[in-house]
Amino acid sequence: MLCLVFRSIVAEIPDGKRPDPNQDFSRVLKFLQLLVDIPLVVDYSLGMEQMALFDPSPRWTVTTLTRHLRELLEEDDSLQGIWVQGEISNLSRPASGHVYFTLKDAGASLRCVMWRSDAARQRFVPQDGAAVEAHGSISIYEAGGQYQLYADLLRPLGEGTLYQEFLRLKALLEAEGLFDSGRKRPIPELPRRIGIVTSASGAALRDMLNTLRRRLPLAEAVLAPTPVQGDEAPPAIVAAFQALNRVAAPDVILLARGGGSIEDLWAFNDERVVRAVAASTAPVISGVGHETDFTLADFAADLRAPTPTAAAELATPITVLDLKAKLTEIGRVLTSEATAILQRQREASAWLESRLQTFSPARRLQTERQRLDELSRRGSAAQAYRLELAAEKLRGMESRLAALSPLAVLRRGYSVVTKNKVVVSSKAQVADGDALAVRVRDGEFEARVTGNG
């Protein structure tokens, strides 16, 4: 602390050859002397006047001075929100949950504290000897008289460089339009073939296969095995994408890896991998790491899932249960439609039949016959009677005529004898020698009476 006090005070002297005595400096020296109760050797080469050792009214108390120093440090923006690089030592985690440690390098050490709330949010668990980058602000713990780093974030050394690279590449690819929402392809609702790009031995694969088995066993999974970390991973992942699209032509591809550190996931930030995801023929669902991990491959994917299991779920929006329910429903519609068709047909034919009955020619015939009978009964009865009457009359006239006709008798061989145009019908009418006329069937001749005596 003393060292710091001196440094910060001396730093306030713009010019070492300044002729005026530095009041603050002298006061601090005096304070320090009182504080430690030892004689101080003052280097007068700085150009100061003799110290006022017996100044009766000290300006500072320990508290006000320390507070002043704290304020000086906290007002200095270059000491706030900084990253400090070093090696962890003296790590301790008391029951309070706060974490205390010292960062050191070859030349110096820095006390650090991380409050419990910040410590709980750390993904990285610090250990003694670890090379880290700590983020925080410099201030003073007044009660202990210690300046220290109030750290809020710890990451392994080098992660910052990686993150910078991540941001640079992200900006580059973003500017290129690789992450545009317009590029995102729709995920098929019912994939037949699901491509999987991941490690053949990882838990991620097992999780995905189990999920697919449970949700859509109808599908086929095609694995393109590839290392998912290390230098060989990016070119292998790119090759897996190309081969999978070319050979298996899947409906959708899952790109997945279980959780890990940012270095473990780094292959998924590789520019080659990101471009392969964007260039894939089949739409890609990424499920890399945990919920909180975002990789550039995630941004390029058509859909980002928080985990491999979630990726397999998103690839199968329709499950076998949905299919069964839909099938039951369509079977029900099928039956009801067929029943309805039969019912309609039955009704239609019943209606037709009734119309047929109404307009049947048989019925008309029946009607006509009935009419005829009716007519016969009414009209023809009178007619027949008249005819009958006439016929009867005729027959009477005929017989009378026939009876009266002389010709009929002559035809039978009879003759009509007349004397002086009078029909002879008695012996007494004639005497011998009288001339008579005899009429027969075809004419008349004369005759003379003899033998009447």
Partner: protein
């Protein structure tokens, strides 16, 4: 009029069978089928429904692995 696929139903994939089933139902719903056609559509529909249900019940996820330019069965080592 809906065309009836002459392919034997057992050879249809789930997607094919289901798509045809949908066509069959739509044709029946249109109500424009002669009775005889409607009845044979219905029969076909019933067979398709059963086939689909069988496929769903029996389905087991096929897992294969890309090996060079070919697809090989994938052996899971649990």
């Amino acid at each position: 009029m809906a065309k009836i696929d002459p392919k034997p139903i057992e050879e249809l994939s789930y997607e094919q069978a289901y798509a045809e089933l949908e066509t069959v139902v739509a044709a029946l719903e249109s109500g424009e089928q002669p009775l005889e056609t409607a009845l044979s559509l219905f029969e076909r529909g019933q067979l398709l429904t059963k086939h689909c249900a069988d496929l769903l019940d029996k389905a087991e996820l096929k897992v294969r692995q890309l090996s060079g330019e070919t697809l090989q069965p994938f052996e899971e080592n649990e």
